[in-house]
């Protein structure tokens, strides 16, 4: 198992360096004056310009600049925002919990309902339920989620007034961020001070529901489809027949002998959904003004805040490969054939 993890790590590093190459190149590909791009300074004086070039190391050969960049990354220096002058890392760290909270809710929602729908559809193959679920799943898979968000807002927030339109919490509440997860923070706050903070938890939950549904639609659809087809494939396997020939109960045949094996490809797909999720977060957070890293990146792009764009993308990509790495390891645990492979 240890050797297996090491092998995976060996694959991870080149990918990470590849990404640093891309983010490094990103900034240099932007048309325009490099000093202006890097620090937002507009200098007409050639002497000052040259000074800035030197200060930023931009007069060095490209490969040395890349080495500098890696050195900065290694020492935890991700640069600072041109707009807020805050360190990029600090901004990322403040905003990330919001995205993580959303993403967790979404994965929970998508995994539970997707697996359930997929398994039942596979067992009741050809039934009305099966057709219905698969029709809905394809619709969800085809959904322009930014529009889906608008429609839900139009219906639930504007028309029915059930859910708030934007943000994570009503401004009337003043909750100290302890964990960064609003559901937990509000719950703690309510427990500590029920007088002032009554209803904070519910408010946080109401804020979370629509964004979670919007962002969860595609992963839910993908997981349901994948689970169904994977289940159908495994149900045809000889070893499922063996399991039934042992006299095992249908529940045991399905949940132990079939689902266990059917989960392997589903797990991979779930891992891949994390990438989709980060892309979707950009749209969802924009629509719901959710103060997470998706909205942060889009804002940075529209403000031409390039250090944030550069290293924000690096952070997100690193996150995605780390998640995929974890999924790979889980995959190995779930599938002994892979674990033991050389």
């Amino acid at each position: 198992m240890f050797a297996f993890i090491l092998r995976r790590l060996g694959l991870l590093l080149p990918t990470f360096f590849g990404i640093t190459l891309i983010t490094f190149g990103l900034i240099r590909l932007i048309p325009g004056d490099p000093v202006e791009v890097m620090v937002g300074e507009r200098t007409l004086d050639p002497q000052m310009h040259a000074d800035a070039m030197h200060r930023l190391g931009l007069d060095k050969p490209l490969y040395l600049q890349y080495v500098d960049y890696l050195g900065n990354l290694a020492s935890g220096n991700l640069g600072e925002s041109l707009v807020t002058k805050e360190s990029v890392w600090k901004e990322f760290a403040t905003l990330f919990p919001a995205t993580l909270e959303l993403a967790r809710m979404v994965m929970l929602f998508a995994a539970v309902f997707g697996l359930l729908a997929g398994v039942i559809a596979a067992i009741k193959r050809g039934s009305i339920f099966d057709h219905g679920v698969m029709g809905l799943a394809l619709t969800g898979f085809s959904m322009p989620i930014f529009w889906w968000g608008l429609i839900l807002i139009m219906f639930f927030s504007v028309k029915l007034g059930w859910t708030p339109v934007s943000g994570r919490l009503d401004l009337a509440f003043d909750i100290a961020p302890r964990t960064g997860f609003m559901l937990i923070d509000t719950w703690l706050a309510e427990a500590a001070d029920p007088e002032i903070n009554a209803g904070a938890f519910k408010d946080a939950l109401m804020h979370l529901i629509l964004p979670a549904i919007v962002l969860g639609t595609i992963p839910l659809a993908v997981i349901a489809r994948m689970t169904r087809s994977s289940m159908l494939e495994v149900l045809r396997e000889d070893y499922v027949r063996t399991a039934r020939a042992k006299g095992l109960s249908p529940a045991r045949v399905i949940f132990i002998h079939t689902l266990r094996n059917a989960l392997i490809p589903v797990l991979t797909v779930m891992g891949l959904q994390v990438g989709t999720l980060m892309g979707g977060a950009v749209l969802t957070e924009t629509i719901f003004s959710w103060p997470g890293i998706g909205k942060w990146l889009i804002d940075a792009i529209s403000r031409r805040d390039y250090p944030v764009v550069q290293n924000g993308i690096l952070m997100v990509a690193t996150l995605v490969i780390l998640v995929n790495f974890t999924v790979d390891i889980l995959y190995g645990i779930a599938n002994p054939r892979i674990r033991h492979a050389k």
Partner: protein, 324 residues
């Protein structure tokens, strides 16, 4: 009384409008402790018959029969729950391809102990002890360490031994071996056959041996059923059938023995193939291929008719020289 009695069993696949009869009017009895061989070309319905009997076709095939009785229990009317108390315990089955018959995600030990836990309620040390015993019974070397092995770490022969261990775990009264050696190397085939027969004797269980290999049947089985296109063509004692086959199809099978080799599932002595869904003749199912075919064969389907040495489904059985 016979251990297993099947009368007039039919299994249909496909839609109601467009059915395909994989098994048609099949009769078969098996007595306690005997070995019955079933032979027939690929697609003749051998596996489907057995799976129907064990209730493994749920949701796939429609099953009708006059009688389907095992050990005095009516398998036709029995509830699914009650059937699961018998299947895997008193009747068990081993399949053709051992490499795909074991679940790749669980250790060998887990899969053997699963049956023991379910049917015999064993647990703890006794459970482990019994699993080990079984592994030794099927002659798996280094049994203790193999319990923790995953199926992909075993060879085909070893996997089949594990499957056998799983099947005999609860001392079944009837073991069905569906081409247990077809997927194995020739050298291993004999070992597995030997193991099966010795277990059959030591456990005194009945054994249904489905095979393409008539030589094996001749060696080990007491009785033989020859299947063709979902029907029993001929049934009788092994020595009688081998000496005087009554059905033209059996005769052709026997003639093909010397040429019979692994993987040759078609008969070189009879041209053509087993009829499929769309080309079942209305008369005798063998009539398009039969060397003795007459007009009556094309018009009228023969019944399985008893005669002193057994039963045969042919208008012009070979012992009856006058009629042709």
């Amino acid at each position: 009384m016979s251990l297993l009695q099947i009368k007039n069993l039919s299994v249909e696949f496909g839609s109601e409008k467009n059915p395909f009869r994989a098994v048609e009017g099949l009769d078969l009895t098996v007595d306690q402790g005997e070995i019955v061989g079933i032979v027939g070309e690929s697609g003749s319905g051998k596996s489907v018959t057995m799976m129907a009997m064990m209730g493994l076709l749920e949701g796939q095939g429609r099953i009708v029969a006059d009688k389907l009785e095992f050990d005095g229990k009516d398998l036709l009317t029995i509830s699914a729950r009650a059937r699961r108390k018998i299947v895997g315990k008193d009747i068990s089955m081993i399949f053709q391809d051992p490499m795909t018959a074991l679940n790749p995600s669980f250790t060998v030990g887990y899969q053997i102990m699963e049956v023991l836990k379910l049917h015999q309620g064993l647990h703890g040390a006794a459970l482990k002890q019994r699993a080990l015993e079984l592994m030794e019974m099927v002659e798996i070397p280094a049994a203790a360490s193999r319990l923790a092995a995953y199926p992909h770490q075993l060879s085909g022969g070893m996997s089949q031994r594990v499957a056998i261990a799983m099947a005999i775990a609860c001392n079944p009264k009837l073991l069905i071996a569906d081409e247990p050696t077809t997927a194995l190397d020739v050298t291993i085939q004999a070992q597995i056959m030997e193991l099966l027969v010795s277990l059959q004797q030591s456990q005194n269980m009945a054994l249904i041996l489905i095979t393409h290999d008539l030589a094996v049947v001749a060696e080990v089985a007491q009785r033989l059923a020859v299947m063709y296109a979902g029907q029993v063509a001929e049934m009788g004692k092994v020595p009688d059938i081998f000496r005087h086959p009554a059905h033209p199809y059996t005769e052709a099978l026997l003639k093909s023995i010397p040429e019979h080799s692994k993987g040759a599932h078609r008969l070189s002595t009879l041209p053509g193939i087993v009829p499929g869904q769309y080309d079942r003749p209305s008369g005798c199912l063998l009539s398009p291929r039969c060397p003795y075919v007459q007009q009556r064969c094309r018009d009228e389907r023969p019944e399985l008719t008893p005669y002193p040495q057994g039963a045969v489904r042919c208008h012009f059985p070979l012992y009856d020289k006058e009629s042709r």
